[in-house]
Each structure stands twice: as C-alpha cells, then as structure tokens.
Amino acid sequence: MFLDKNSIIINGVNMGQYIVQAQYSYNKLWSSDSGRNLAGVQSGTLIGVFPKIILQFRKLTKEELEVIVPILDSARQNVTYYDPNKKETITIETYTGDYEIVNKYIIGTNRKNEGFACSFIATSKRV
C-alpha cells in the first residue's frame, strides 16, 4: 500500500520519487493436493501468499536510470512496503520480471526515456 513517499524502499532506495503507480497483488499459491474431495468440495493446502508489486516508473533521466537499473537487474532485492494484512511495514525478498525501456529521443540530462513498468515478485511466502 502506497501511503506516503516512503512507502516503497528497495535495496535502500526510496522508490517513491521515481514512480507514478504501484500495483500490489497478493497471489495465492496452492499445492498440487488441491482439488475436489469425494464430497465435491474444494480442499487443499495453501502454500502461501506471495506478494507481487508492479511499479510504474515515470520518464527517467539518464542519471536516474543509472540508479534504478542496477536494482532491477540484480538477482534478488529487498523490498520494504506497507502490508495491510500485517498492518505494518514489512520487508520481503523478491526477484524481478523483465522490463523494457523505450527511447523516443536521444537521452540526456533534459531528455528522458518513456516510462516503463517492472514487477517485484516475492521469493517466499509472506509469513
């Protein structure tokens, strides 16, 4: 949940200044034992809730990209965010999805790339 400018910190970098949108999805992962029982009722083991945060970055300068991209390219990230289920700010370990940066102009100090999105997916279930 994005409550204030400090609501999302990734690897120690406050993302609030770089994003225009944060989308939080709380995905349930079910075990292979899930299915209908003999009574026709769904049953099964919930492995856990694996949060995914999709950040929509605004147009970024070359210098700003040079701060963000190393984080996006790393194998693992530590993401601190406010979780409404836990009612507190928590830190989870994530991995990132693919992202694409579009340049319509030559990028420099004043010109910026087009905005883009990147997802941060929890590596383990939220405890």
Partner: protein
Amino acid sequence: MKTVTNNFKEQIAQLGREIDFKFFLHTNDKILTEDGKFLMTENNMHLVVEQFDEEEVDEVITGDDIFNVAIVNKGKILSTMMKEVDFEIRQDLRIGDVIDCQFGLKVGSDYEYVDYGRYMIYSKEFNEDTKTYNYVAFDKMLLTMQEASPEFLTDLEGRTLADCINLICGGVGLSFNATQEQLAEYPNLNKQINEGTFTDLQITYRDVLDMIAQALGLSMIVEGRYLRLKSLKSEVVDTFDEKYLKDVNVSFGNKYMVNSVVLSRSEDNDNIYRRDEESVSEYGVHEFKIKDNLIMLYDDREDYIDEIFEQLNGLEYYINDFNSTGITYLDWLDFYNVTVGDKTYKCLMLNDEIKIQQGLEETVYTEEPEETVTDYKTSSKTDKEVSFIVDKQNGSIRAKVNKGDVINEINLDESGAEINAEKISLAGKTIKMTSDNITIQSTNFNVDDNGNMSCTNANVNGTITSADGTIGGWTINSSGLNNGVVKLNSDGSSTIYTVADLFVMKGYIMGIQPFDTMSPQMLSHYDLNNDGVVNTSDYVILQQLIGISM
C-alpha cells in the same frame, strides 16, 4: 489416536489449510557406522541407546529446507511395528543422527503441532541433480533388530513373557514394566517359556518380541521411551466422511472377521483351535492361524489359546485402500469409521503413509490377510488327547494318543525309533524286516540274542531241518529219531526193543548164548551205551527203556 484439538480435525480438511514440518536434530557424536553402513552390535548397543536418548537439540530444520517427508507405518496384527520416516532435505546429516518429527497445521493464527516421535537415521543418499539428501530413519524398534546372543536366549527360557519383554527392553533402552492391571488383563504375560525353546537359534530380539506378541494375542509398538502393548479390543476413535477422501482411488472390499483361532505346528499337521460356534454357524469359519510359534510348540499350547482367542474373537474390519486429503492424527491399530454416502465402513489402521511436500496426501490401505484353511475334523481343542510334535531343533518327532487310561506313542530321535502302544498292527502285501539282530520277547513267542526261538502252539508247513532236540516225545539226533524203545534211523531202518530183547540179552550176559554167536547187527542193537560190548550196563538201560525189571 494422537491428541489434537477439534479445530485441528476440522481445519485439516479445509481449503486453504497451511501446513508445516520440523525436524529437531540431535547430532551423532558416537561411532555408529562402518564403511558408511549402520553398525549396531552387542558391544556398541549402549552407545546407540545413549544416542537415541540424547536430549540436547543441535539444530531445528524447518520447512524452508525440507523438500519432502513421508511418514510410513506398516504392520500386521499380533506383531511388532517399526515406524519409518523418509525425507529429503538440503542438509548433510550423519547416519546415527536422531531426529524428532513434528507436523504442524495452522489453526487460527498459530500452528498446532503433532508429535510423530523420534527416529534414528539408518541410511542416506545424495541426489546430484538437486544437491539434496534422501534419508531413511526408523524409530527405536530398530534397536531390537539386533541378533540376540545364545546366552541371552537361554536366559529367557524359564522366564515369564512379561520378564522376557522387560529383559529385551532393558537391553535396548526401552521401558516396559507390566502393571498389575496388565498382568490381570493379559494373563498370558504370566506364562513361562519352556526350556530349550530358543536353543541353537539365530534370531533377533524383535523375532522374540513377535513370538511373544502372538502368544499374548497383542501387538507392540514404541511410543517415546516405552514399549506399549496394543490390543484389538478397542473402540472406534473417530469417523471420517467424504471430505477427508480424495475423489480418486477410494475402494472398500470385503469385511474381514475372525471367529476361530488355530494354533498350528508340525507343518500344519497338528492343530488345536477355539471357535465361536454361534458366529461360525451364522457366518462360516473365519480363522486366524498362528503357525509354528516356537513359544507355543509344546504340549502347553492350550494354556495360551484361550487368551489369544479372547483377544481376536469378534475382530472385524473392512479391507480398504484409499487416498485421503489428509487425516494425520490416527495411530497404528486405531479403529475408525469411514462414511461414504449412506454406508459406513469400520476400518483398522494397519498401513498408513503420510506424504508431505508442498501439500499433504495420505494413503491408507489394509491388505487382504492370507487365507488359511484348517481341517477341523483332524484338529482338536486340546493337546492332551492327540499331539504331534516335530522338533527340528532337537531332531525329534513325537506322536501321542492319550485316551482314557491308554497312551500310545511313537518317538523318533537320533538314538532310534520307539513305539509304545496298547496294540501294534502291521499289515501289507509284503512285510520285510532286515536287521543284524532281532530279539522278540513275549509270553508266547521268543527269539533271543543267539537266535534261539521258543513259542507255544506252532503250526509249521514246509521243510524243517534239525540234528538235535525233541519232537512229540521223540529225541532227534544226527542218525534219526528215537523214543527209547523205538528207533527210526535216517537210512530208513528202524529198531524196536521189547521184553523179548531182555531175555535175549540176559542169555548172552549169563553166557547161555556165547558172545561169538552175536552178529554185528545184534551187537549194534544191544550195545545201548555204544561202548562196543554188551554187558549188564546195557541190560540196565534196556530195562529202563522198556520199563520192566527182570
């Protein structure tokens, strides 16, 4: 049944249950392997026991490092059961390491944990592809798999079954100590093992416990530090409906029941039994047969069978095979009901495999017991009338019939064969007896060591050869038969002495008739003492032969 809350029982069947598993590791710091293999000998047993009872927890291995776990309980009734856990984790543990296992289910906001007991790692295997280790571990019943020494086995003989269990448990770090209530409830605990039962046998402690379990009509399991006796006379602990069953692989077969118990020995040739006749007449014979149990191989079998029958009579459960969504809290030998639609199946937990990976699945099955058939016409309720014992250990066979005051026996052992019977009949087209020496002793027919035969009233047909003896008052000698006054010679001639011969002989002896007129035939006839002359000695003999004095 393990102790769990009602919320646990409800939650385990729910969609969205969350599970957990933990191992509490007690690392092995004692030498328990040889060439990578598990080593358990009489000499290092105390170290194994110490390791098994280690209290200090060295590490807790949680779900993050556990790839899969399978808890396996498999057994059959009237035996011991050894619990097993197979698991795959990242950590490299040692053979001989001990783990306590706990399964957790999130109930409300917290996890409720079920204790599955303590196990010792018996074997391990490394997976090159996943860089994980597969382990197999067993509970403390593993320690009874040790071969018992001859001295130990001899020490068991003469002891009660309760004492034997105590001795075995003492050697493997288990506690037993039958209570007074148990001794009263299971009277076979007070029975003694006969001398010679375990002579020259190579068996394990567990083999002995299995025999004792059968003799008690009970089963045995390790719980914590205790060896527990489990009876089949227990109530249903819980009922499960369709929500505990997966929608595939659910089958229920015939109802298995017991209304007859048979103790069998001598390759199934000698059986005693107890039956519930009312049940048999209604449902037919459904027997449970115990074969060649060394403890019950002697003539005191009927001292055991009543209690065994008491434990087994009335046992009934459905043969089953189903995959469950997960129950997890039943114990081995628990009775439970399964309700499917309007049918209720009473089941007995004999084989249970709980698999935990990301999810939970439980496979429960009961195998169809081996069918046995006993010819009850040739069986009896007691050994006191008929018994047939094949004692392979001592190399002997004994058959006995005992009715009223009559006891007939056949005994075979290395010293020979002996038949003692009221009457012995041999009948056959040809009967051949071959021996270096036959002697017969009876009131009417005897043959001694030297071949001298005597009998009364013999009727003989055929050829008889003799050069000595008497027959019908006649004396047999090499030249013929004679009865004194009459001689029948082997050349066919005969000689008869009469009173006239007295006068003739007297005439020669008194010189009335000269001796030189006596022909050789007359000399032979009258020379009764065969001294070459005819004199008064011959005359006396002739008088005696004829029976007249002159």
